[in-house]
Symmetry: none
Subunit: 245 residues, 4 copies
């Protein structure tokens, strides 16, 4: 009986905690890391201000938890998927699938991860950059293995390949997050998913097209002016000083 009561207590606490976490994701996805105020989270969760501090030590820990819980779930499913698939290509498709499915089920959450993970400068309680790096390093093992079996081009760096895969995925999702692509129905999402995977595997050029032999690699890019940085061009906005003229 006491055990049951305790269990219920624990469950209720877990629920509360999850409610607040969920609310944080919500506010977060709307206002971003720094625009997110504790007061907003509390209101969104429908709890009192102080209760947030009952469940999370401070703002940083709350936000950290948002990342950690979201990211760990993603990594978990990623690992699960990788172990399930058989061929290299299916594994790649599986990885892409996990990411897109995550977005299908929880676009807000994915938005938060995409817009924030690895973006904040180091200094937060937990090193989010490393969380990101970890996943890439993990994926690079997959490519390493594939390379040894000849399923990957010989001159390809596994780490860079992994990086690119996630880059393509991330940007594919970003297109939806930013509203560049509209998520009318799941079919659009599914099609994008497949395309990302296939492009990564076989490229955008139709099979059989001969490779351009002239400018393969190492070309110095003449378009870039040395000694000039990208801030050298004038801003189009007018400052007070400029308005004077």
């Amino acid at each position: 009986m006491a055990a049951k009561a305790l269990a219920q207590q624990t469950t209720r606490e877990q629920d509360r905690r999850r409610t607040i976490l969920r609310a944080a994701v919500e506010v977060f996805s709307k206002k971003g890391y720094h625009g997110c105020r504790i007061a907003d989270v509390a209101r969104e969760a429908g709890v009192a201000y102080g209760l947030v501090y009952h469940y999370f030590k401070n703002k940083d820990e709350l936000l950290e938890s948002v990342f950690t819980s979201g990211w760990s779930g993603f990594v978990e499913r990623l690992t699960e998927q990788a172990s399930k698939s058989t061929t290299f290509e299916d594994r790649v498709r599986g990885v892409v699938g996990v990411a897109f499915d995550a977005y299908k089920h929880d676009p807000r959450g994915v938005k938060v991860l995409i817009l924030e993970v690895g973006r904040s400068p180091s200094g937060g309680a937990v090193n989010r950059g490393s969380a990101f790096s970890d996943v890439i390093r993990l994926a690079s093992l997959l490519f390493q293995e594939a390379k040894e079996k000849g399923h990957l081009k010989a001159d390809m760096d596994p780490l860079l390949a992994a990086t690119m895969l996630f880059g393509a995925i991330e940007m594919g999702l970003t297109a939806f997050v930013l509203g560049l692509l509209d998520r009318k129905d799941d079919s659009v999402l599914d099609r994008a998913r497949d395309q990302v995977a296939e492009t990564f595997l076989r490229g955008v050029v139709p099979a059989g097209t001969a490779q351009d032999p002239t400018s393969r690699a190492g070309q110095a890019n003449p378009a870039v002016r040395s000694k000039q940085t990208w801030t050298s061009s004038k801003s189009p906005t007018k400052s007070r000083a400029q308005r004077r003229a």
Copy 2:
């Protein structure tokens, strides 16, 4: 004489302005958008506190200028490059090259763009998200044209292709920004540049490998449990409430 004096004045103003802008980039790349205080920028630029407000209306405009000036230079060079190249493949390589060269010349500035552009929630004076979208849309024209000429796979969405290209580029650079890849010398950077372009064009799978016919597209991904969001897993950090147990 007066004209000359005025011109010098103006030049000095321009210099000041650029100095501050440059300082903003510096502080920015170190502390991020929100961790950056006006005082920091002023100190970095070696000017008085209030002077920043003489050249920029407010913090937002300063940050906006940082983005705009950096981004417009990038877009400019991108356009220039696109018009110069001849074949589709070279254009793609050119786009990748412009991005990597920018990083080579001004890693700090690129870091700022990568870590912040499109990450801040809409609400700033200028919609940075749209700046980003604009470039992608611009690039998609290139893919549209290529598609019509048969240089692009028939079932490929030009917009999505453009998105993926920038995704791969961005993530490739992110690998350097985050320190995942070490920028010992330019050759590492150059190799990465080439690999990003080639992968995008022809994929990671060696030419001649038969395509896996069974799981091409539209497969439902069985690994994803419906009705479960990514925040459902418990956070490993202990809250005050949890510590009780």
Copy 3:
């Protein structure tokens, strides 16, 4: 039977109450009046958070109880002692003795009284300042009586004499509380006790020393500069504003 149960209940309640009070003294002597949180008291007492509020209306009442109970015990013993002693000098020694014995038996409690009684600005539920005044006024009666019997110097104000007595006692104990004097063993304490009493009675100057006739009383102190307050000297710490220079 029910009566016995009730009595036991009551006893248990009393115990609880005393436990909490004791814990409050403990926390108090460590963290001081304002650094003391209800949570700390509860933890120290080993009871639940809310239970403190079952026994004490609020924090103020708890603190008030700490003072009152401690103080009333002290006053009680003081009165008892005063009525027991016979000669004036013994009464003085008795008063000093009660104070030092209290410290011997409960240094923590005395520390709290010394460091807090009369220090808090009036405003608490009970006027602790008045509690203090009451004791002094009580003692002044003793001096009044002594004066009438010629046991006290004729030009001595009884109220001021009483004040000084407690001042010497308090500061003597403060020396221990602050660690200025080390309470290795009770003999140090006993010696201090005797010295306080004797000094108060006969002064620090050896008997028979002629009194300095020139500067007895009423001398204007030339060392004090008029119109200058004690905050006029510069603080050695540097402010942000000062660091500028």
Copy 4:
């Protein structure tokens, strides 16, 4: 010219700083250490909230400065006085005089020092307890010297003597601070000053009174019940639990 401007600047800053410090003393003496809010200080000083933080790093530093500046001025005058006086007795009178004069000129400031110095539990930025101890140790040198010259009773501990002197002074002033003695005019204050000094030097007992031989020292005080602490008596205030009965 520039130098003059700078000097003026500096002076103005100093003034501001002093104004705030002065305001802090004011608020402080009214509300005590912890009741003192930055907002109050700012209002009292007639400056904006944030300006307090321009001159003082944080609340602690402000309060610390209040103590330090006040205390250092006091110590300074004390030292000055000690070096000026000639005989031991005059030195003692001088020390007492400095304290009483300080009160005459700035009762508020002295109140703050009396009520707070050495009372707060250690933990503040600066160790106020040690500031207090330092003065006592300093004074004990004076007594040490006097003892060697035979101006102090042979069985008297110099450190304890110093402690008692300040105890008598402090409590004498406390009598005024608490309103026990009314500071109608300076004569009351002057009389108290003289009495404190003389009592310390020669005691309260009229010269020529024989010393009570029976109960000089070392007597165990039978009035104190062993094993019983001063919190054992019941508080007269009623708790919720007690009200039940």
